[in-house]
Symmetry: C2
Subunit: 372 residues, 2 copies
């Protein structure tokens, strides 16, 4: 698949609609794409030092060659830096560089620069236009689409943030060439989630193609990105602000966020979500919501990809449950889970897309497994 | 005028439309108003310690009596605390209190709690519903209407923020009874601005009524609030995001923000805007944009109210110009001013609502006046 694909995100507010451009070579066309979708007087590239080392010179050269004034703001890579402090430092550096309301932000990198750069765009001088330019598989298939931006606080992930729709998302699978193996695997976890909540055939295809995907076969990766973006686009345009169907995308994320935080971010987000999906499927099976065998099915796919599938034994139930209560999905003192009835079958009862799960039931996951 | 007035703000996104309820006694009806316009599981009252001391017990009692769970988050009063640090502290305290996405924020107080509480609502867990409950005249006639939220940074005012429309604005002029004199005067500066940019008769009425307004005549203050809100509402609903006509509201604010920052916030915002309006009218007169005599006319009204009308002699032109360049209104390296052609006559040229003014012209304001 060498041709480029365009996927439209239609939103109730038409001015917020945007396109996702997927294709090998889109990065090389970035200047043309910006001039069409997000013309601005100056561009602020918000990225991390790892991505900057690999691509910042090339990106700056392309933009300068097209006559665009560009400044690069790079922070230390890693989820522990996705904080309000980093956000403040980047914003201060932008003020210092003289960037005004006629500037636009390019969030360039994996999920962290995407979320943090997006939050900078959402809040700098009350909002600048934003383009998402993801370089990790996780950001390509998931976090760059949907308008969520934010930072973590010591109390939990993404607790501060905003919805800020990009002007466009530019996805070039060729940028995956430099992605470390464990990040490639972690990105595949979110694709597995898309199969699990919406498309059993897609899940099967991922399982069959695991070898090619891990070998970075460009055709397979492009196909994966396109299908995942289609699924995510279909869901987010039905529910821009996560009041309904969008909650489906949280499958695996309630326990996932808890173990990710508890690990001190030594677990990658995708690794934590892989664990979260299997454990939440087990939870659903125990509650009679999820068809027996679903957790085993997910575990098989994820294991083939090389992802972890159970909560590390050093985490106790009380700690994990404590973290879930800080989650944004906690409502009315009970924690909401997005469960599935089976592969491709979201559990929606009484028109609700998330279900409160009592702490006791979560605690039972830990019982009889030698865990606390 | 004892009856209550309702002013509708219609916005292109209909779900963001809201009403402004003005009237003596609206504060006493707050529980009923919230249940109608902003029902929520819990309410977070964001306020400052001065307002909290005067009104928090009464507000909490009213809400508790109506069965609403309410937490009060109060920070030290004053513009110097309208920072990212205070924002982070308030948000952390809300997480600590267990507030989730089913909560709503009441921004309660003057411009500072309004802007900061609004920014908390805009960014807490990617956005909570917001009600503005202003207690200062400035907040009633100006900052509570229009959806602007934000915090200052060391580099300038409101540099970080977001547009976040409230569900409703509740204005009870009786709350002005406890407002210190200098804050009452400062609030009148924004009302003078409304007259200056949109309604010469209103400006005249303010001048004639200055004595009654300063004596806190409830009928006069209510009439002032209603007319100012009408003018502001008319402008902001034409231009939610300040791309066009809304820039008019920045009259007096480019030099105003500069002197406010330079004073270390010992000048109140309204005092700085009073200075800014007269100096920007002088600027316009020098440029041939503003009718001769306009600055003198504004100076007369503002002096009658007891407001300052010229840049303090200790501020040099280089310092003031330096601060204007950090302003959000700086574009393309030039600073944009919202000028008027005369009282009630905005200067709009070539369909533009703001005009770049070269630094040299600003510097001339200082020449020949014994100032640096």
């Amino acid at each position: 698949m060498s041709t480029k694909q365009r996927i439209a995100i239609n939103l109730p507010v038409r001015s917020q609609a945007y396109e996702i451009l997927v294709g090998a070579g889109t990065f090389a066309s970035i200047a043309t794409i910006l001039s069409k979708f997000c013309p601005a007087h100056r561009y602020a590239v918000v990225t991390d030092d790892r991505v900057a080392e690999l691509y910042a010179v090339r990106l700056s050269r392309m933009l300068h060659a097209a006559g665009y004034r560009t400044d690069v703001f790079a922070f230390t890579a890693g989820e522990p830096r996705k904080t309000r402090e980093t956000w403040a430092l980047v914003c201060d550096a932008m003020v210092e560089a003289g960037l005004g309301r006629d500037a636009a932000v390019l969030a360039f990198g994996g999920g962290v620069p995407g979320d943090l750069g997006g939050f900078v765009a959402a809040t700098y001088m009350r909002g600048l236009p934003l383009v998402q330019l993801p370089t990790s598989l996780l950001a390509m298939v998931d976090s760059s689409v949907g308008g969520k931006t934010g930072v973590d606080t010591p109390a939990g992930k993404n607790l501060m943030g905003a919805f800020h729709q990009p002007r466009c998302v530019v996805i070039d699978p060729e940028l995956l060439a430099t992605l470390p193996d464990e990040h490639l695997r972690a990105g595949l976890a979110e694709a597995v989630k898309h199969g699990a909540i919406a498309d059993p055939e897609y899940l099967e295809w991922i399982e069959e193609s695991a070898h090619r995907l891990l070998a970075r076969d460009t055709e397979a990766l492009s196909r994966l990105v396109v299908r995942s973006v289609e699924i995510k686009a279909e869901i987010v345009q039905r529910d821009e602000r996560e009041s309904g169907p969008r909650k489906l995308l949280n499958f695996g994320h309630t326990l996932g966020h808890a173990v990710e935080s508890l690990s001190g971010y030594t677990l990658l987000h995708g690794e934590a979500v892989a664990i979260g999906m299997v454990e939440e499927a087990r939870l659903g099976e125990r509650m009679g919501v999820t068809a027996p065998g679903t957790a085993a099915r997910l575990r098989r796919v994820l294991t083939r990809i090389g992802l972890p599938t159970s909560i590390p034994p050093e985490f106790g139930s009380a700690e994990v449950i404590g973290w879930t209560r800080n989650d944004k999905k906690a409502r009315d003192g009970r924690v909401e889970y997005a469960l599935i009835e089976g592969v491709g079958l979201p559990a929606t009862r009484d028109g609700l897309w998330g279900a409160p799960v009592p702490d006791e039931v979560v605690a039972q996951l830990f019982a009889g497994s030698g865990r606390r």
